[in-house]
Amino acid sequence: MSPQEAAAAATASILADYTSRTHKGLVVDSPPGAGKTTLVVAATVEIAKAGERLMIVAQTNEQVDDLVDRLASREPQLTIGRLHAEGFEPPPRVTRHDNVTTHNKAENVDKCQVVVSTADKWAYVEDRTWEWAIVDEAYQMRSDKLLAVAPLFADGQALFVGDPGQLDPFSVIESERWAGLAWDPMQSAVAVTQRLNRLKVHQLPVSWRLPASAAQVVSEAFYPANAFTAGTAPGQRRLRFTLPGLRDPWDPTLAEAGAQGWAMHELPNRHAVRTDPEVAEACAGLARRLLQRGTVAEDEHGWHEAEATRIAIGCAHKDQVAAVRKAGVPGGVTVDTANRLQGREYDITIVWHPLSGRRDATAFHLESGRLCVLTSRHRHACIVVARAGITDMLDSHPSSPKVQLNVPIKFPDGWAANQTVLAHLDRHRVAAVGRG
């Protein structure tokens, strides 16, 4: 079966199950770039065609606006309601569509065929129910948020869509009070639902975003139980540099990334402060050099210039983001933390390895979701910047999380996932030369 056929078959069986009315809930696990939004659009069209009303819950305003824009562009006939908080101004990409109604009161949008909003806003909607619901990015949603919105669709059919490999929901509160409880409010919406119900789980089998060079390693490291493949063949995605490079310290790393889809720009082993200036400089320098070299991305659709907006630099911490910006990043290049890069896509990503220069591996830095987000945003190449010695550091800090009664074991283990990725990157290691 070709990737196209495999993906089409998966989508068809999901839609068949969803519209059969025999499942009160369905879970769809979607690896990075596997066409989650396409699935949501397809399901929306299916429901709307049948003349039924649908509600969609997403997690951030950004996600809601992206989704509304996609839906409205693809289906100009569809009436779409964009429910938002008071004082929120929907961006032009939403307001430009004639078929979109934006309002902060549910009664002004609930006649629409589809109403889209954030979980936070849905929680304030009362006295209304929907027969059909889609919960998007459900693995990012916290259990307590779901509790507030689930009554809106509890008597109908719900589709939970999300990427199980991304970052778990977060709380500023550290409490073990609920550890082991089936409805622990700190876990994800999917986790709570699945511990109390055994919903059928579907999986999208093909990543259209990740190149062939990345799909296998990302799948092995972060999705050990649900393998997926790339939608393109090896060699189909390449980077070409139109301007020659010679003496610049960044060029060997770029050459490796262009040819192989991966490069590990390795700085000398050293313990460093969190905002390691040399790593910051390398991240910014590599981005600058990519643009100077007139990088062109070749893919299954032809080729295009890898402009600044198609390049991202991902870090673990906000202060690292600030350090990279300060090191001189060309305008248009995205610099952000893993949390905020979730769901985004670029041609080339430059990753500040979360464990670079560290003395120890904390749970935060080991979290597999963080590394997964950082290493699965790219269509062509991913360049990881790190200090040497991470493997040794990991070996001397084996992960030993506290064992709690009745808490399901989490896969993949962050420590193991880090080792898998490092073993892979070892084959694409380029020692930094010169000042870099």
Partner: protein, 476 residues
Amino acid sequence: MTFLGSYLKVQALQTGRAQALTTLRHVHLAEKPMVFIPLRMAGEAAAPVAAMVGDDRADPRLLIVPQPRNRDHRFAFMAELAEILVPYIRQFSSRIDLQEERCLDAPQILVPNQGGVSFTRLLGRSTRFRSTTGPYAVPPLVPLLGRWLTFLHERSEFAGSAILLSMTGVLSEHWVTGQSTAEDGNLAALLAWIDPPAGERGDAAALLAEDPLRSPPAGPDTDPGFDHQVLEPLIKLYESTGVKSQLHAALLEQLTPTWDLMWRGADLLRALPAAARVAARWERDRVALARESIRIAEGAFPPGRWDNPQAAARRLAMMESAQQSYEAGKAFDDPLVMADHRMEGVAFEGRVVDLEVDRKIIPPGKVRRVLRPLVTIRTDDPVRITPGKKLLSPQRPKQSCQLMSIDDGLVVIQINSGMSKGATIPAVGETVCYTELDPSEGRRPRLPSLELTPWTHGGPPTEYVPTDEDAGEIWS
């Protein structure tokens, strides 16, 4: 650790003296707090050995369990403890302003460290379900004490609550030492850093204070040497002869140094002036106390072992907003705490250089022109706030603003609200501070009632009725 925090830590290390993290005291300190220093038997989760307790520093009460493995002794100890703590709590919990639904004042229990807080929870856990009739009956005050201890602990998990405090925790919030966080958990060492004996350096004094013979551990865990050489022989002596005076004397000697340290810690805190928001936070404790007091009076069941889905979600949301409000409130009250946030880029201070007082715009989606003044501020702070973010100022907390742009040390903000009569807006030349921190506790959506618990969370739970099983543990 934050930038300023790290800097102060290095400075503490260099000068050999703890550095102030705040200029004010951010917790309420009762006039007569109840100091409670429990000790437990090594190897047991909740077997008390002794406790020193009292609200008068000149008159500590020592309660001991002569044979900690004997459950009857344990509950006799709990009964004695209840005779002290329950009347202490009752003098506050019984005085309720019914109209306002809050107590006029609240109890305050001070324990030495986080271990003491956790042990308080376990003592509550082990006694609140005890039966006062039938086999193994306990005196009626014991389950009541269990309820109050459970309440104190549950309340203490909310940031800003001062009803049950760990001394090391509170001191570490106000001072930073040159030692690690784990070492700060030792009350004697922590106090040595903050307030060393005259003419001594704090680091040297802390090193001496770590000697368990000089300053016995502040509990609940005892020193293994003491267990082995003193406690065990004396418990055996009691077993064979029934004499407990020596045991009493040995435990008194173990606990008295910590007793003195606790009051010294309280003195140090009392010397700091209270921050403006302390009273409002204490009022929340008084409200919580009144509610619990009414629940007990109405004969409601003690809280179950587990939260139902709604209770868990509600509690998490409340804890989160309390945390956020506490962090922000501290910064609004205290310029040194604000400086910490300024270093992190979520707040900035600067001088107003330009003003557009009469600027009127039509906000998107609206039709009427409204007043939206612009203020330009020059700052040297490393601002990391994204444009569009809501900003507040400690000087004008009611005036909600919005960040428009940051360019090379020039920050432009737009004032959105709080310009009614009597309100002032910043003047050119004035030094102002703005931050994205917000001390108000945000609005929370309503959760479905228990009967309407959706299937995603297991459907409506069965009604909770405590049974004798609740007193046991799942693994016992």
